[in-house]
Amino acid sequence: MMKGLVKGLGVTLRNLTKKKVTYKYPDEPIKMPNRFRGVQHFDPEKCIVCNQCARICPTNCISLTGKKNPDPESKVKLIIDTFDLNFEICILCDLCTEVCPTEAIVMTNNFELATYSRDELFKDKEWLAANNTNIREENNVSLLKAKRGGAG
């Protein structure tokens, strides 16, 4: 009658000697795999103000403005003036990085985004440009295919 109970007790007793599975975060940082969709990094030099990221965003969290390029030599007509990402509603879906033709906006593997007030979640161009650690390698899949040569 007690056999099932005794077997269960045996399982928990054996677990006393096993290795613990807890991560020691925040004492040791957690390393995310390379494809992890973390907070974005924005490189203002590469942006050509095509507005694709703002149009594709499912929650409309990107707002950007451009201005005329003061440099008459270069082919780029517009350069970026302001670029705001509202992290209150950004769902880190990475559609913006998927459509960006110049990989100006890419994702990093950072996930720590907690702030003490809601205003600080409204990130601007300077903050996004400075967030340049752990940048993800593969961002725009069509550019990736171009590097490999041919579809797939």
Binding site: G8, L9, K20
Partner: protein, 339 residues
């Protein structure tokens, strides 16, 4: 200590008693603190996680931090609650669990009271904590608390019966209700300890004791996932700490009682190990019982209230009655053989 008790009361001996009692209270509070810490650590280790390990070295200050948090919390009393009953209920629950510790002999020299009706006194007092639980459930003006209080009243009363009756088997063998006498009868090798001759009584007593303590698998009154917290759902701050304190002190008292009644008290498992002081053996056996109760909590699911009732009345009670009959018959036969 024992000889101080039988002498006439003087101011000096009264002072000694008071100081010893206060020291003992502080010791028990310390034991509860580290009992809670060890429970969380052992449960964590059984679940492949470390348990508390951040506050203080190895998490040793965790319970201290918890008690401090409970102390500085706001003392909320629900608006339509019965205020005097609400305030008194935790105290009623706590006091008996501490008082019964006075009757347990820790070694042959260290005890606080030498009552000839030790076992009866213990059982009578431990039933008083039921009142505290029912009052807490009623006075909270909360349907969940009421359900929890009613459930626990039913549970505690039904399991007090097999508890007492299985202890009677031990009394029959030892011929006395005096706890020191019961322990003295168990000296020698470990097969003299009462748990072997009284194996049926031991099983029934342990199960009934866990039900009396409201511990898993019998923790319906505080079923965390059903009634959200049962009878103490409206208690916060230090009143809640009182209930928790009552539960853990009672756990300590029950483990100590099982050690005294069934596991040989302060006797070593073999006579040649007598050089190790008795208190160490007492503590070892007590720790083993404590660990067993925690181990059950980590493994077993909860029993439903109607199954609990049928287990208490239809299984444990007949078993304990059968235990008394068999013990009585065997005792008579041995007496007849010995002439």
């Amino acid at each position: 200590m024992g000889d101080l008790l039988v002498q006439p009361l003087t101011w000096g001996s009264f002072l000694t008693f008071t100081v010893m009692a206060v020291l003992f209270l502080l010791l028990i509070l310390g034991m509860v603190t580290y009992g809670i810490y060890f429970e969380r650590k052992i449960l964590g280790w059984m679940q492949l996680r470390p348990g508390p390990n951040r506050t203080g070295k190895l998490g040793l200050l965790q319970t201290v931090a918890d008690v401090l948090k409970l102390l500085i919390k706001e003392d909320t009393i629900p608006s339509k609650a019965d205020r005097p009953l609400f305030k008194i209920a935790p105290a009623i629950s706590f006091v008996p669990s501490f008082v019964v510790l006075a009757t347990i002999p820790y070694t042959d020299k260290l005890y606080f009271a030498n009552l000839d009706i030790g076992v009866l006194y213990y059982v009578a007092l431990s039933a008083l904590s039921t009142i505290g639980i029912v009052l807490g459930g009623w006075a909270s003006n909360n349907k969940y608390a009421l359900l929890g209080g009613m459930r626990s009243a039913a549970q505690l009363i039904s399991y007090a019966v097999p508890l007492v009756i299985s202890a009677v088997g031990v009394v029959l063998i030892s011929g006395t209700m005096n706890m020191i006498g019961i322990v003295e009868r168990q000296e020698g090798w470990f097969w003299n300890w009462n748990f072997l001759p009284q194996i049926l009584g031991f099983g029934v007593f342990v199960i009934a004791a866990i039900a009396e303590l409201n511990r898993s698998p019998f923790d319906l009154p505080e079923a965390e996932s059903e009634l959200v917290a049962g009878y103490h759902v409206e208690y916060s701050g230090f009143r809640f700490a009182f209930y928790m304190l009552a539960e853990y002190v009672y756990m300590i008292a029950m483990s100590a009682l099982i050690t005294v009644l069934f596991l040989g008290g302060w006797h070593a498992p073999a006579p040649f190990l007598d050089f190790i002081p008795g208190i160490i053996w007492f503590i070892l056996k007590f720790c083993f019982m404590f660990f067993f109760i925690i181990w059950l909590r980590g493994t077993m699911p909860r029993i439903r209230i109607d199954q609990l009732m049928s287990l208490g009345w239809r299984v444990l009670l007949p078993l304990s009655l059968a235990n008394i009959f068999i013990t009585a018959i065997v005792v008579e036969i041995i007496k007849a053989i010995n002439g």
